[in-house]
């Protein structure tokens, strides 16, 4: 499986994501400069955390015009996996790939701490390896992570099983404590917490590992399905 982590001017969790994913999956993980629009060779695309373009104007507002976003849209449309972490989530909402918006924390302060998250939707390419209702520990680090969407959209998200994670307690004033949401097709996830900061014991939690492993397992099932659909053999037992 081939992963791309997009680096925007002002990204700062890009290398963390590359390191974590490579360590967890053993896959090839490329750091891709935001000027690159052709992302076809990649099976999964990660928009990392940070402060793209300084988060001036609004978080993610300027990054969404980068050439790479064309590639991200194409990948999402093709059913590939797209993961936006923190600033990456903000970019995905700004670009309309996910609904809603992320506003300044209710406390008007940055928050860096380990947050407890409820896995609300364990049946997605990103969460399959978590147990339903499981509470996991993943660090947050954001000043603008208050998820907002109009009530009708929120209802739609909940009913469609598109709320992936919820904070176990209110950390930033997010509507319905939402920490991560999926697109209708389920192949695009945005979340404020940082799974790449929870992959080694010394980090205090390894609960982020299964997110990346889930993505890999999904890709494996898909490639098996693709191979069998095209009449190929082998690999069958993997799914």
């Amino acid at each position: 499986m081939k992963w791309a982590v997009i680096e925007f001017p002002g990204s700062n969790c890009d290398r963390d994501a590359v390191q974590a994913i490579a360590a967890v999956t053993g896959d090839v993980v490329d750091l891709v400069w935001h000027q690159e629009a052709a992302l076809d060779p990649y099976d999964a695309i990660v928009l990392p955390g940070g402060f793209s373009y300084g988060d001036y104007l609004r978080c993610g507002a300027i990054a969404r015009f980068s050439p790479a976003l064309a590639g991200v849209r194409a990948a999402a449309a093709a059913g590939k996996l797209v993961l936006g972490i923190c600033n990456g989530f903000q970019i995905l909402t700004e670009s309309g790939l996910l609904p809603g918006a992320l506003l300044r924390n209710r406390q008007l302060q940055f928050r860096c701490e380990v947050a407890e998250l409820e896995v609300v939707q364990p049946d997605s390419p990103f969460t399959a390896l978590y147990q339903p209702g499981e509470v996991i520990r993943i660090p947050i680090a954001h000043g603008e992570g208050r998820y907002y969407a109009p009530p009708a959209t929120l209802d739609e998200l909940e009913q469609g099983g598109r709320v992936a994670f919820r904070y176990a307690r209110d950390v930033n004033g997010s509507e319905r404590r939402i920490a991560g949401v999926l697109n209708p097709r389920g192949n695009v996830l945005g979340l404020m917490p940082h799974p790449e900061r929870a992959v080694f014991d010394w980090m205090g939690s390894i609960d982020g590992v299964r997110l990346f492993q889930s993505m890999r397992a999904f890709w494996q099932r898909q490639s098996v399905a693709a191979v069998s659909a095209s009449g190929g053999s082998g690999q069958r037992g993997l799914g």
């Binding site: 002002g10 700062n12 963390d16 974590a20 940070g50 402060f51 300084g54 860096c112 680090a141």
Partner: protein, 761 residues
């Protein structure tokens, strides 16, 4: 046009004769004496611009004219030192082919005027000092001093400074992993904001701020030059920051800082860069003069080529602007194209503004006209150095202060201390800092020292920032020594081996002999401790004129200690882990209350002498505990510092909710004052360790053999803090009460400043 005999002419502005006759040089920061020295050095009258160059470079901030003779006495050598003071940052070898570059710097005056931007630009500046050495910043620390939190303006300053530090560090993506936050009324009008940065590089790839190689091109890279911050350097040395020209506020741009960081490191990796320097205080003037001075050469600049943000800027303004996020870069002739490509990728302006020369002069041109021509040596090396008069106090300032009778309930006394903002949980501060970005923070804030992994994960860097103005006020020499000893002790407790330090000397007005005495003594004490602990000084910063309304702050030297963690097994927590462990106190027992926070709070002023310190003993204690940690015999370690033994034990209990029963005095003590001394005295060189019960006897024997006093205080377990002597309890508090008091103290005081109080968890 240049004339050989007179000063170069400037298009507008006063003539050299007018500068002299109207004493305009005074506005530029030169005294009459200094002006005469300039005239002598040049052999002619300086024009307005030239006088301005001397004014800023000879300011206290740039020239260290009051402190330099004393700073020269710091021990700066050691086998681990790759780069000592004099460069943008010091560099130390941490083994495995790795080195760390680090430095601390003050931004006190800007923060007093505009706390958010002052603190943010302080962080930006110290980051640039580190990455110009070719090091990638891996950690930030900060040392803060404010007045009393009951004062509304103090709360505003505190909240804004913390937000500003986070605002810059979080955005640029360097974790803020530690620091200290201290409150005392002496800092009310003059808060201290010191920022420290640690970066990592390969030991053989140090870059220095030299402008070498005659003919090599000189570039400015980064932001455009505006009129902001003109006179920042002289501003720092002015008497009343509030009254000073207010437009001197600079706005930091961490996004641009990040681009500059990445571009600089990429450029340095290309290998065609001769030298880089941040344009900090005094902007282009100091960066150009200092880079030329280090190379022993000169530089020629064409000022109309400097990209400007505002129209009509004069050479004077261009030279003195302190616009943020700019670098001066000297590239090998032929390396220009590579440099341009890097700048283009990161969207930065890169303008060739001059070249390196070999005639030892800083020569400035503006639209074809030479506007300044001054010898670099005169600007930098021959800046004045003052042996300012010193005056010891007639009587030590804390002498003769009575100690009011202690509280009837010593448990209440402890809770009272734990809720003092100096000792209370600092989570309110550091939860606003991204301390885990870069995914390399092995131990974050809340520990005795932070530990950050090096890129290959082979080893860690331990770091701590410490200082105590009250001690230094009571006894400048010992206070200086304690700052070094405590910082090293914190590194040892966390599992590191102290290597070297950086320091920031925050003092009052050096023109007062009493303040000069404090400065000289503190430096002497620090030096003694550096020698005793084999931790030389590799970088630092001096901030003087910290006074307001004629009142000086406590003399406050802050030490940033850096050590190496050679094995992950050495990393040691500062909280009790297991029930049934033995708790040992290692180090001399001293029940005196001298210099303690307890006495200050009871008496309403700093009292007594500084706490006791014996540097030979300090070294033995640190070496012993470190050897135990290396042998894997220590479950937890925490040093006894402000608040004394009782507070240190409480801090070890709270995080994991693990109780302890400890005899803080071995023999019965009846007297209340004496008990308070055992509980809250701040005598130095003491470390509490949690060890396996069965190992205690052997460890005590080892301590005796090493000439270190040590005693088993008691054992862990239960959910209460029980402190007493061999016969009875002096206090016995349930841990939840202790934890609650400690955790809620800061958030409760700050609640009003928050839009919505968080649930305190």
């Amino acid at each position: 046009m240049q004339t050989n005999h007179g000063a170069p002419v400037t298009a507008q502005g006063p003539t050299p004769e007018e500068v002299q006759a109207r004493r305009l040089y005074r506005e530029l920061g030169l005294t009459d004496d200094e002006y005469d020295r300039v005239v002598a050095a040049l052999g002619r009258l300086p024009n307005f611009l030239e006088a301005g160059l001397f004014g800023v470079l000879w300011s206290e901030h740039c020239s260290y004219k009051s402190s330099r003779v004393h700073l020269a006495t710091f021990p700066t050598r050691g086998p681990q030192v790759l780069q000592g003071p004099g460069e943008n940052a010091g560099v130390v070898d941490v083994g495995g082919g790795w080195a760390v570059a680090f430095k601390i710097e003050s931004h006190n005056h800007p923060s007093a005027v505009e706390p958010y931007q002052g603190a943010a630009t302080g962080v930006g500046g110290i980051l640039r000092d580190v990455f110009t050495m070719g090091a990638r910043p891996i950690a930030l620390l900060n040392s803060l001093r404010f007045g009393d939190l009951s004062d509304e303006h103090t709360r505003y300053l505190f909240a804004q400074v913390v937000a500003g530090i986070g605002g810059y560090g979080n955005c640029i993506g360097v974790p803020t992993v530690g620091g200290e936050t201290v409150f005392d009324p002496v800092y009310t009008r003059n808060p201290l904001v010191n920022a420290m940065c640690v970066g990592v590089l390969r030991a053989d790839r140090i870059v220095r701020g030299v402008a070498a190689g005659t003919g090599n091109p000189v570039f400015v890279m980064g932001a455009r030059t505006g009129r902001d911050g003109i006179h920042g350097a002289t501003f720092a040395s002015a008497q009343d920051p509030q009254a000073k020209e207010r437009s001197a506020v600079q706005v930091g741009d961490p996004f641009f800082g990040k681009l500059l960081l990445e571009a600089t490191l990429e450029l340095l990796a290309e290998g065609r860069v001769v030298g880089v320097q941040d344009m900090g205080a005094a902007g282009l003037t100091s960066s150009a003069a200092e880079m030329a001075s280090r190379a022993g050469g000169g530089m020629e600049l064409f000022l109309e080529r400097v990209p400007v943000r505002e129209a009509g800027m004069t050479p004077y303004e261009i030279m003195l602007s302190e616009s943020q996020e700019r670098m001066l870069v000297v590239v090998e002739r032929g390396g220009e194209a590579a440099a341009r490509a890097v700048a283009r990728k990161w969207g930065l302006d890169l303008a060739e503004i001059g070249r390196v020369t070999d005639d030892g002069c800083l020569r400035l041109w503006f639209h074809g006209e030479q506007v300044a021509d001054v010898p670099v040596r005169a600007l930098v090396d021959e800046a004045p150095r003052y042996q300012r008069p010193q005056q010891p106090p007639v009587q030590p300032p804390g002498a003769g202060v009575p100690l009011p009778p202690p509280e009837a309930d010593l448990g209440e006394a402890l809770l009272n201390l734990l809720s003092h903002p100096n000792l209370a949980d600092k989570r309110w501060v550091y939860r606003q800092y991204d301390w885990s970005v870069r995914a390399a923070t092995y131990v974050g804030p809340g520990a005795d020292a932070a530990v950050v992994r090096l890129p290959d994960g082979s080893r860690g860097v331990a770091m701590s920032a410490d200082g105590n103005g009250r001690y230094t006020y009571l006894n400048p020499r010992r206070g200086g020594a304690i700052a070094v000893a405590e910082a090293a002790r914190n590194v040892v407790c966390a599992g590191g081996k102290p290597l070297a330090l950086t320091n920031c000397l925050n003092f009052g007005n050096p023109e007062k002999p009493a303040v000069m005495y404090q400065l000289a003594e503190a430096i002497a004490g620090m030096s003694e401790a550096c020698l005793a602990l084999a931790t030389p000084v590799v970088s630092g910063n001096v901030s003087l004129y910290n006074e307001s309304g004629g009142m000086d702050i406590y003399p406050t030297p802050v030490v940033g200690m850096v050590g190496v963690v050679e094995d992950w097994a050495h990393v040691t927590p500062n909280a009790f882990r297991q029930a049934g462990s033995a708790v040992l106190l290692v180090g001399p027992e001293d029940p005196a209350l001298d210099g303690s926070l307890y006495w200050q709070l009871r008496a309403g002023r700093a009292a007594g002498d500084a706490p006791s310190l014996d540097l030979t003993m300090e070294r033995r204690v640190q070496d012993l505990v470190r050897s135990w940690i290396v042998e894997g015999r220590v479950r937890a370690a925490h040093d006894v510092s402000e608040g004394g033994l009782a507070v240190a034990l409480a801090e070890m209990c709270i995080p994991m909710g693990m109780g302890v029963r400890a005899q803080v005095a071995a023999a019965p003590v009846a007297d209340g004052v004496a008990r308070a001394g055992w509980l809250f005295g701040e005598g130095q060189s003491r470390i509490l360790v949690e060890v396996e019960q069965a190992a205690a006897a052997e460890l005590l024997a080892a301590a005796a053999a090493a000439g270190v006093p040590a005693r088993v205080l008691g054992s862990t377990g239960g959910d209460r803090l029980w402190l007493g002597d061999s016969t009875q309890a002096w206090l016995d508090i349930p841990l939840p009460r202790l934890a609650d008091t400690w955790r809620k103290a800061l958030p409760q005081r700050m609640r009003r400043e928050e839009g919505e109080a968080d649930a305190v968890s």
